[in-house]
């Protein structure tokens, strides 16, 4: 199992590392990579919604209003509750 995964932000051409077990928003904030909007960090507000284009991940409990089931099926996630299980390619929503 890798200690770190590479998170590539497709539409910003940026890459950062995410420690095993850490969510992809907190790790970006720690490294000063301000590409994802930081909201409540609790899976409640949907401010950090992004789309995962490639890779495996685990999504924790999030608000069904902030992330409806159909969006989840299309690969949308809340970054604050998304823990990578492989390297990921993500796209920032709204861009």
């Amino acid at each position: 199992m890798a200690n770190e995964y590479r998170i590539f932000v497709a539409n910003k051409s940026r890459e950062y590392l995410c420690r095993h077990g850490q969510n992809i928003l907190s790790s970006s904030i720690e490294q000063g990579v301000r590409v994802i909007k930081r909201g409540c960090l609790g899976g409640g507000c949907g401010f950090c919604k992004i789309r995962v284009e490639a890779g495996q991940y685990e999504l924790g409990k999030v608000s069904i209003k902030a992330l409806p089931a159909e969006e989840r099926k299309e690969g949308f996630v809340l970054a604050c509750k998304t823990v990578p299980l492989s390297d990921l390619v993500i796209r920032i929503s709204g861009d």
Binding site: G43, G44, C45
Partner: protein, 301 residues
């Protein structure tokens, strides 16, 4: 007669156990009762059975807010008046929730569920005979009371009109944009600058609910508690221009925004409202920084 104060807030949470730990140990409320899917809390200086209910759900936000009225008969009076105003009112039966008596229940034009009630079990604050200023063994931030809440909705004037005309709320402050758009209001029934505030935004949403503190020292202590417990900060510690209050905003584990609030002035019923316009609004919101942040105006639950 009439509405006395914001008596209770029922907030939805994603994880009940995590939220019980947060509201007990970080906020420092007293856990007074539990039932499947719900927990009831009071702040240490409150006498009623509870002021915060958390209810497990698939999404966070405001389940209901309850304002306490002075007399039981006030429920009949308000039921009639609200119906006459054109809003349907339902009765909530006695003991619908732990410790609570009967209530009337209706939906505000901005979409939030509001209850008015008088009866609730009184468990007291334990400080009524030769008391010390504080009880023993307070934990965390330990606010003495629930203070106010801020709700959002499309039609700010409609909810404002209902609260002022039918429930005799008074206005302390307002934000007017573009010359005539009532964008936000701060309303009170107590002698604090607000018991409820309403801001333009998505219907039915909660911006925050706030606990009262007694001083700037207490606000700083709260900030230290939040940092020690790695609570997610939104803004502060700082001062609001609006209300002149001292504040910190932060998020509970489900993303509901909480505030600790201290200070402000003491308005009377004849208070002349303060008006803010776009030129000075950023200072109204965060007086020191003078900037409005996207997160503060954009995150609701």
């Amino acid at each position: 007669m009439g509405v006395m104060r914001l008596g209770r807030v029922e907030a939805r949470v994603l994880d009940l156990e995590k939220s019980i730990d947060y509201y007990s140990n970080v906020i420092g409320l007293q856990l007074v009762a539990r039932e499947p899917g719900k927990a009831y809390f009071k702040a240490w200086d409150e006498e009623d059975h509870h002021s915060l209910i958390i209810t497990e759900a698939d999404y966070p936000g405001l389940e209901h807010m309850g304002f306490k009225v002075r007399y039981q008969e006030d429920l009949d009076t308000f039921e009639k008046a609200i119906e006459q105003y054109g809003i349907r009112v339902n009765r909530v039966s006695n003991r619908h929730r732990i410790g609570e008596g009967e209530a009337i229940r209706f939906t505000l034009p901005t979409g939030q569920v509001m209850e008015l009630y008088h009866e609730i079990e009184r468990i007291g604050n334990g400080l009524k005979l030769n008391p010390d200023p504080k009880p023993e063994n307070l934990k965390g931030i330990a606010p003495p009371y629930l203070d106010h809440l801020l709700i959002a909705g499309e039609d700010v004037p409609a909810t404002t009109d209902l609260l002022m005309k039918v429930m005799d709320f008074h206005m302390s402050e307002r934000v007017i944009l573009h010359g005539d758009e009532l964008f936000a209001v701060w309303l009170f029934r107590t002698n604090t600058p607000h018991d409820i505030a309403i801001i333009k935004g998505p219907n039915g949403k909660l911006h925050h609910f706030a606990f009262g503190l007694s001083s700037w020292e207490d606000v700083l202590h709260a900030a230290d508690c939040l940092a020690k417990n790695e609570v997610v900060l939104d803004e502060g510690p700082t001062r609001h221009g609006i209300t002149r209050g001292l504040t910190i905003y932060f998020f509970d584990p489900s993303g509901n925004r909480n505030e600790v609030f201290s200070g402000g002035y003491i308005p009377g019923e004849d208070f002349t409202p303060v008006t803010w316009t776009e030129e000075r609004l950023p200072r109204g919101i965060f007086y020191h920084k003078g900037e409005i942040t996207e997160r503060f105006t954009g995150v609701f639950t």
